[in-house]
């Protein structure tokens, strides 16, 4: 199974990490979209299992969660989804989700089953480092990397603590707020990436509010090892609900454009 570190060492510049809600808008279309994203140049996948109360997500991903759930997505089907994606390509997969779904499944069993299906890490949006012991040991025991978040208001001491418990990569949140595309990239990104790089060698991936190829370039130029794009891509699904082929085509094109921008390197 391909690891995050393999990808970070192979990729020239920053890795491109699109985020999708599993089963959005329905199982089959979602499989098609994610496969197309891989073919268009995604290096790592960040996948969400939909939850009824996603408090860290803005309107775009909330709506995707509702679409997916109302079309019958379940945690068990998410397991099947991941297996099918891994047949298409051995690409590292990080899950981004909420704790109650893991807790109800049974934490150890969840990690073990999803690791076997091909997942590399499980980031729980509503579980901070303070309660990490509830998941970190079972996650490592199952063979998973443990990814945690750093935000613009995380102080240096806490950053070190988070880094010490993190393997795989640090998920760096670029803005104070929930997920969602924003026209302007937060000015805090560069300083934040440098600050984290100053305390740890763990790779740093940046997400939240990245919606344009130029944003991705700026984040990469700031020294990030990966760029995570969620709401912008999920928004393309929402805009094309009546035309699935168009959704697939637009997402492929967007990912290819960002990939190209990242390959060109920083604008001088």
């Amino acid at each position: 199974m391909k690891t995050y570190s393999q990808v970070f060492s192979e990729v020239d510049g920053a890795a491109l990490i699109p985020f999708f809600v599993i089963g959005d808008p329905d199982f089959e279309t979602s499989i098609e979209i994610v496969k197309a994203a891989i073919d268009a140049g995604a290096d790592i996948l960040e996948l969400g299992i939909p939850f009824s109360d996603p408090i860290a997500d803005g309107p775009t991903i909330q709506k995707a969660d509702i679409r997916s759930l109302s079309n019958g997505m379940t945690v068990k089907k998410a397991l099947e989804f991941i297996k099918q994606i891994k047949v298409h390509r051995d690409i590292p997969i990080g899950l981004l989700m909420y704790y109650n779904l893991v807790y109800q499944y049974g934490t150890e069993k969840f990690f073990s089953d999803f690791h076997k299906a091909g997942v590399n890490s499980v980031l729980i949006a509503d579980l901070s480092i303070d309660d990490a012991d509830e998941v970190a040991d079972p996650a490592r025991g199952a063979g998973l990397d443990t990814v945690f978040m750093v935000t613009p208001n995380t102080d240096a001491e806490r950053m070190k603590l988070i880094a010490s418990k993190t393997t795989g990569f640090i998920y760096t949140v670029s803005v104070l707020g929930v997920t969602g595309s924003r026209n302007e990239l937060s000015g805090a990104v560069e300083g934040l990436v440098k600050k984290i790089k100053g305390v740890t060698d763990v790779p740093v991936c940046v997400g939240f509010g990245i919606s344009k190829p130029e944003h991705a370039k700026t984040v990469a130029a700031a020294g990030a090892d990966g760029v995570i794009i969620g709401s912008k891509i999920v928004g393309l699904i929402e805009e094309n609900l009546d035309d699935k082929d168009k959704a697939v085509a637009e997402i492929s094109e967007f990912i290819a454009t960002v990939k190209q921008a990242l390959a060109e390197g920083p604008t001088q």
Partner: protein, 392 residues
């Protein structure tokens, strides 16, 4: 965080990383000020002169005759704003002031906490935003208007079922983006640590007064204390002082909605399973995989799928018994108290009365029961009219 915020295994602070510094700041400020002489005396002064504490303990003679025991009402409905909510909003509002915060946000279901926050925003001159589900805005329009009159902005929450759960989701999301200058004034004894502890601290005055009033006015402790439970702040507020009085039976009444068997209710402790929502591990109404159920209750203030962590611990230990009252019984109790005492109870509080009415004929006539009448029912007149039109 300095503390784990656990009640047994329940509670904790299951929140996104971005909120941790704000919760740490809140915890630190609470422990710095809650016993501070200046803070305590300012809060006592406001509780007395602004909110109207202490609230009376009233012997409801005609209602008692109907039920067949001695019923005493702890009249939190007489407080400013019409509910116990002001105890907490004064305390947290003052804490916000001492912390130098200038903006308040709050979630609300029935609008009682929203109104109590809007009042305090006006009192302290703070910019106030209230998050409220669209369904609740419609069924509690009088409170929405009152909040606006107090200068608060009421923000419509359309997501989910448009009720309290969704209002909390959006208030948390807003707070995530505005943590640096905004104080989240949480309304019940649930949510992430330190809220269950803070809200309880500002509500235990109910039980402290009630226990002393029993000793002074009845000459003994009550046999039973009843309170409705949504998030659980009025209940923990009155129960806490009686926890060590082992002979005092404590009963929490949840919203049975249409009926427990229909699945359309909000009886979390009676029918839920342990899970994690809104920052705390607690009983939760959810499906097998952990998706949170839509709840239903005639009372917007109890229409919530989770519950305060301390109540979960008290349920497991058996110290408090938790039961449910269905909408129909609640409306009957609303009418009964109105007709026998001329007191319109909030539909939330009417749940506690409904359970007591259900015990009619099973209690010794000398049994002394204290019911926490947590709020007044003026806000609910429209709803009651819809279900039970008054005949001329």
């Amino acid at each position: 965080m300095k503390q784990k915020g656990r009640f047994g295994d329940y509670g904790g602070f299951y929140v996104p990383e971005v909120l941790i510094p704000a919760l740490e700041e809140l915890e630190e400020a609470f422990y710095r000020f809650y016993e501070d002489d200046e803070f305590v005396s300012e809060l006592e002064d406001l509780s007395r002169h602004y909110a109207g504490r202490p609230s009376p303990l009233y012997y409801a003679k005609r209602f008692s005759e109907h039920v067949g025991c001695k019923v005493y009402l702890k009249r939190e409905d007489l407080l400013h704003g019409g509910a116990h909510k002001v105890n907490n909003t004064l305390g947290q509002g003052l804490l916000a002031k001492y912390m130098g915060k200038t903006k308040l946000i709050a979630e609300t279901g029935a609008g009682q906490h929203g109104l109590a926050t809007a009042m305090i925003g006006a009192l302290f001159g703070m910019e106030t935003k209230i998050f409220m589900g669209v369904v609740d805005i419609e069924r509690q329009s009088v409170n929405v208007h009152k909040m606006k009159l107090c200068g608060a902005e009421v923000i419509d929450v359309e997501g989910g079922t448009g009720t309290l759960k969704d209002a909390i989701n959006d208030a948390l999301r807003y707070w995530t983006a505005h943590v640096t200058d905004t104080f989240y004034l949480f309304g019940s004894a649930c949510g992430p640590h330190p809220y269950p502890t803070i809200v309880k601290h500002f509500q235990i005055c109910i039980g402290i007064e009630a226990r002393q009033q029993c000793l002074d006015e009845i000459g003994r402790l009550p046999d039973m204390v009843l309170a409705c439970v949504g998030g659980g702040s009025n209940a923990i507020g009155i129960f806490n002082e009686f926890i060590d009085d082992k002979d005092v039976k404590l009963i929490g009444i949840e919203a049975g909605g249409r009926s427990l068997s229909s699945g359309r209710h909000a009886a979390t402790l009676v029918a839920g399973r342990v899970g994690v929502l809104h920052g705390a591990k607690a009983y939760l109404l959810q499906d097998d995989e952990g998706q949170v159920y839509e709840t239903e209750s005639v009372s917007a203030g109890l229409d919530y799928p989770a519950v305060g962590p301390e109540h979960c611990m008290l349920k497991d230990s058996g110290r408090v018994e938790y039961v449910a009252a269905e909408d129909k019984e609640v409306l009957d109790a609303f009418e009964l108290l109105s007709k026998t005492e001329g007191i319109l109870p909030a539909l939330e509080s009417a749940h506690a009365l409904a359970h007591l009415v259900g015990l009619k004929g099973k209690l010794d006539p000398e049994t002394v029961v204290v019911v926490n009448l947590s709020g007044r029912g003026d806000k609910d007149v429209g709803i009651v009219e819809k279900y039970r039109p008054v005949k001329d």
